[in-house]
């Protein structure tokens, strides 16, 4: 049996309350929702809570789905809200809504110019490299991380990301740029310590 895709989902059957169709929906999107929860909350237990709450919520409201956005965007919107609610509960001190100096590019100054992009993927995704990448993503401020995860990891468009997070497209673009620059800087710091040693071999 092939893994179902979003094309296999019948919106009519879903809205009519067909449980088999909802099960298919779960199989299409659960991995992505779980990954999002894992990256936002940082542990499997909380990620599972986000996952379960997202689909419970979707199950309750699917009959009111009007198709103004795609099913995927609708689900990501629920999941993002569930993740943010849990984050607020766990870390009330984190400000998830606003970003100081949103339109200013002052924290975009790259300081490291090591071209580690030439390294082979096996090396970049070796145990150590993968750890560095995961840590860099985890260090992004929550409001940037969510935009980055939806756009660059899960592949939503700018418009879909904006819809899912209730942000303007300009806002999404600004946050995306800042997230990408921050990640790049982190990874460059990691590889700048390793590349010279490597070239001496």
């Amino acid at each position: 049996m092939n893994k179902p895709t979003s094309d296999d989902i019948s919106l009519e059957a879903l809205v009519a309350g067909d449980p088999a169709e909802f099960a298919r929906l779960v199989d299409v999107y659960s991995s992505a929702i779980y990954r999002l929860g894992l990256r936002m909350l940082g542990n499997p237990q909380d990620a599972e809570d986000v996952l379960q709450n997202t689909f419970l919520n979707a199950l309750t409201h699917i009959q009111n789905f009007e198709g103004r956005s795609s099913l995927a965007t609708w689900l990501y919107r629920i999941a993002a809200n569930e993740a943010l609610m849990l984050l607020r509960k766990k870390k009330p001190e984190v400000n998830l809504d606003e970003l100081e100096g949103e339109d200013e590019a002052e924290d975009l100054h790259p300081t490291r110019f090591v071209d580690w992009s030439v390294l082979p993927e096996e090396e970049l995704l070796s145990g150590e490299g993968k750890k560095a990448l995961d840590a860099a993503v985890a260090q992004l401020p929550e409001s940037l991380r969510l935009v980055f995860l939806l756009r660059d990891v899960e592949g939503l468009s700018i418009k879909e990301t904006a819809e899912a997070l209730n942000l303007t497209e300009t806002n999404v673009k600004t946050r995306l740029l800042r997230a990408r620059m921050a990640l790049r800087e982190q990874l460059s710091a990691y590889y700048s310590e390793r590349l010279p040693a490597r070239s001496e071999k």
Partner: protein, 88 residues
């Protein structure tokens, strides 16, 4: 007046993300590419940013749902009877 190269880098960096997404207007695109041809540092920033995005999209960074998590989810949703063997 000749623009200080550093100012140019700062100015164009704001367009880098849109450039990677193919979302930059043609005029700025040309300006950025001209600058990239002359500026090693900006080229490195572009290459490493692109690579960062590629890396997070690899299957290793996008693992599937663990089977036991899937089973618990189906049970929580009262969909146990639709819990078919995990599709590959």
């Amino acid at each position: 007046m000749i623009e200080h190269p550093h100012t140019k880098c700062e100015e164009l960096l704001g367009s880098l993300s849109a450039y990677i997404d193919g979302d930059l207007n043609p005029e700025l695109c040309r300006e950025l590419e001209k600058h990239l041809a002359e500026c090693d540092n900006c080229r490195v920033v572009l290459n490493t940013t692109k690579r960062t995005i590629d890396l997070v999209q690899t299957p290793l960074e996008k693992p599937d749902l663990p089977e036991e998590v899937r089973e618990r989810l189906f049970k929580r949703l009262n969909l146990d009877r639709y819990l078919t063997p995990k599709p590959k």
